[in-house]
């Protein structure tokens, strides 16, 4: 039997969203304390995601810092209608991490260095660090459990395709090449996986109302 979804995350989500919007609005006016608060709220989630992508602590720190800096500089141009603050932040961080990952791959290919050399022991960890603010930490912990549960419910091949696309930054063509699966099969898996993930999250959001 599948584990139940922790639905309480969505009770807190609206407050978190409002707080994020307020912090971005303050950053847009040059309020440094808003950047500090925003960093405290999101640093752990962003760091975990970037570390998972890069598997290198020093590079991960650089990327995380660059991502928050980009948020600070672009806060005046943030448009709520184009997506939530968290999606905006996480997309910025992931894009930067994947850019760094691709640059690292190019360097590795050029120098023929051992790929394992850059693997950091942190990547093997399973801890889930949380922000200093208990409310934000609780919301993030529940969201982590929620998304992990949703991922566990996916068929293994769909989950693998999703993770190769999200964390490794591979295109569908590259996934097909790496896994030896037909491109059409990969396309179907990617589409089904993300749609199922979205549906699971939508259902939980409805249940929480």
């Amino acid at each position: 039997m599948n584990p139940p979804f922790p639905a309480r995350a969505y009770h807190r989500a609206s407050n978190v969203v409002d707080d994020d919007l307020a912090l971005v609005a303050r950053m847009a006016t040059g309020d440094e304390s808003a950047l500090a608060a925003f960093f405290d709220r999101w640093h752990e989630v962003v760091s975990a995601m970037v570390a998972r992508i890069l598997r290198d602590a020093d590079d991960a720190d650089d990327v995380v810092e660059e991502a928050f800096w980009q948020v600070w500089r672009q806060a005046p141009r943030y448009e709520a209608g184009r997506g939530s603050v968290q999606t905006w932040l996480l997309t910025i961080a992931r894009t930067r991490a994947l850019d760094r990952l691709r640059a690292m791959r190019r360097r590795r290919e050029e120098s023929l260095e051992d790929d394992a050399a850059s693997v950091d022991a942190r990547a093997a960890g399973t801890n889930t660090p949380t922000p200093d603010d208990p409310a934000v930490g609780a919301e993030h912990s529940e969201r982590m459990a929620l998304v992990r549960t949703a991922l566990q419910r996916l068929p293994a091949e769909q989950r693998s395709a999703l993770e190769l696309a999200y964390y490794d930054g591979l295109s569908q063509s590259e996934i097909a090449e790496q896994t030896g699966q037909p491109l059409g099969t990969v396309k179907t898996r990617v589409r089904m996986a993300l749609q199922k993930l979205r549906q699971a999250l939508d259902i939980l959001r409805e249940e929480a109302r």
């Binding site: 500090a36 752990e44 600070w72 399973t126 660090p129 999703l162 696309a165 930054g169 993930l197």
Partner: protein, 280 residues
Amino acid sequence: MKHEPVRHEEAWELLAAAALDALDPDEMAAVMRHARGCERCSAEFGALREAAAQLAFAASAGAVPGSRRAAMRHRLLVHARADEEASTGERSGATVRSSRRLLRSLVAASMLLAASVAVVAWLAHDRARLADALRVASERGTAEQAVSDSLRDAVAERDTLIAGITGEDMSVVSLAANAPRQTWALMFWNRSTNGWTFIAYNLPQPAAGRTYQLWLVTTRGPISAGTFAPASNGEAIVRATYALPRDALKAVAVTDEPTGGVPQPTGPFVVSGTGQNATR
């Protein structure tokens, strides 16, 4: 291969991959072109993008050590403060010409340039303070000629420093400490003059019998840019001239070495930064 415009059904099928950035570039461009003109696809893409972003929550990693997190937070806030001050200076009109030149470029510049502006602003402020002291000393007459000469030299030194880090063809490398201490430094490389200006803050004093040595780490190996000791307040400024091909710089580093320096680095890194992070 250039993709033709996609039909609605075709774009709809590819939106999930687009939300994950998992399409090949031409395909992505074609889908996005369609979505911009299709309200239904645009809304679906937004919803899938929100779902994809949730995958960040599934990542596991060990806790980032508090010292590293604090250092990162500190650097961000220092840069943000410099950024904000520079923007304010831009609006109200900066008083130092060389600072103003760099401040203008800051509006669209990177984090390193923001930090550079803070350094320029600090030097400009220090220069103004010295110039005021020089004026007062000069007004008191020849009895304080030695003081006047000293202050005049100090003002000239500041002018040289400001000129050395505000040229048209500058590259800046940010250096940070591995230790928890809030040490940071910038290396300014004036590619036109081959001049290097290293400015550091909050450096601890080296132990007895030890010194700091500055290195330009190039594709052919490390090149010593000299030894130095910080002032009592932890600040240090080192200037050097060395011609280097534009793409040869891999990193800038400071190591802790025996007094007198060494031909090749042997001691631990005090601060370091990669040429990859250099900005122009």
